[in-house]
């Protein structure tokens, strides 16, 4: 990808994504952390667009910002007397070391490996092709995923249901 627009877009979105992600880990206030998480998701959607993955980019905004961020917010709001502080436990230093190690290894592998033949062109429009794949070759995983979603819904409802026999609200 060499045209100026894509290069500029990549650097902007990469900076937003990584910067916001580090902010998510660094800020002390949990709500600020979630707000920065939303920025990270948005930056990732931008990166997907530079990768010509239009469908995934839009789905990223729809699911991650519109649904998962909201779920996390609900998790915060529904635990009112719990801490709003985003602090670290005693595992701070080991976790930092491990994270640095993992990042270093992955970056080393990324540059060291020969990834083989490169595609030069992006995709034209991916939505139709993804739909075909989902209902044709990946039909079984698709069905399993829907069963998983259903069981997750039922499980979540069962977990947070109040204990005891249901009283008749009047």
């Amino acid at each position: 990808m060499e045209d100026t627009g894509t290069v500029v877009a990549f650097w902007i979105f990469a900076a937003i994504t990584v910067g916001a992600a580090i902010g998510v880990a660094a800020v002390r206030n949990l709500i600020h952390s979630v707000a920065l998480l939303i920025v990270t998701f948005a930056g990732l959607a931008g990166l997907y667009i530079t990768l010509s993955a239009d469908f995934i980019a839009v789905v990223q905004v729809l699911i991650y910002i519109g649904a998962i961020a909201i779920l996390i917010i609900f998790a915060i709001v529904l635990t009112p007397r719990a801490g709003r502080h985003n602090q670290e436990s005693f595992m701070l230093l080991p976790a930092l070391a491990l994270a640095a190690l993992v990042a270093g290894t992955m970056i080393f592998v990324a540059f060291d490996t020969n990834w083989g033949a490169q595609r030069s062109e992006g995709f034209e429009g991916t939505a139709t092709a993804i739909g075909d794949l989902l209902l044709d070759r990946y039909a079984l995983p698709f069905e399993i995923a829907s069963v998983l979603l259903l069981s997750a819904i039922v499980g979540a409802i069962l977990l947070v249901r109040p204990e005891g026999p249901e009283e008749e609200a009047e």
Binding site: M1, E2, T6, V7, A14, T17, V18, A21, I22, V24, A25, L30, L37, T40, F41, L44, L47, Y48, L51, A53, I56, Q60, Y64, A67, L71, I72, A75, L78, T79, A82, G83, N86, Q87, S89, M91, A95, L96, L98, A99, A100, V102, A103, M106, A110, G116, A117, Q118, T126, I130, L133, L134, Y138, L148, L149, S151, A152, I153, G155, L159, V160
Partner: protein, 105 residues
Amino acid sequence: MDSIELEHFLVVGALLFAVGLYMALAKKNFVGVLIGIELMFNAANLTFISFSRFVESAEPLSGHVFVVFVITVAAAEAAVALALAVLLYRLRDTIDVDRMDLLKW
């Protein structure tokens, strides 16, 4: 700097994954751990999409399909994790993972 290759995206993905891993391991708050896990999912997604875009293969869009499944599972996971957080809060009045030490010696 003047050309964007696969490695650039892989580095972004690696950094995201590292931040997510750090949060999942080190954060005290259950929600912080949850956020870390979501970040790791996203890093994996980015890597999938960039391989799908850059590496020549017979069926290049399989990576996209896999990301769709990852997003689905992430949504299900977030819903269940929210339920767990609320349940933990009801039982223990806190969602600090440090305090979940009933099974610890």
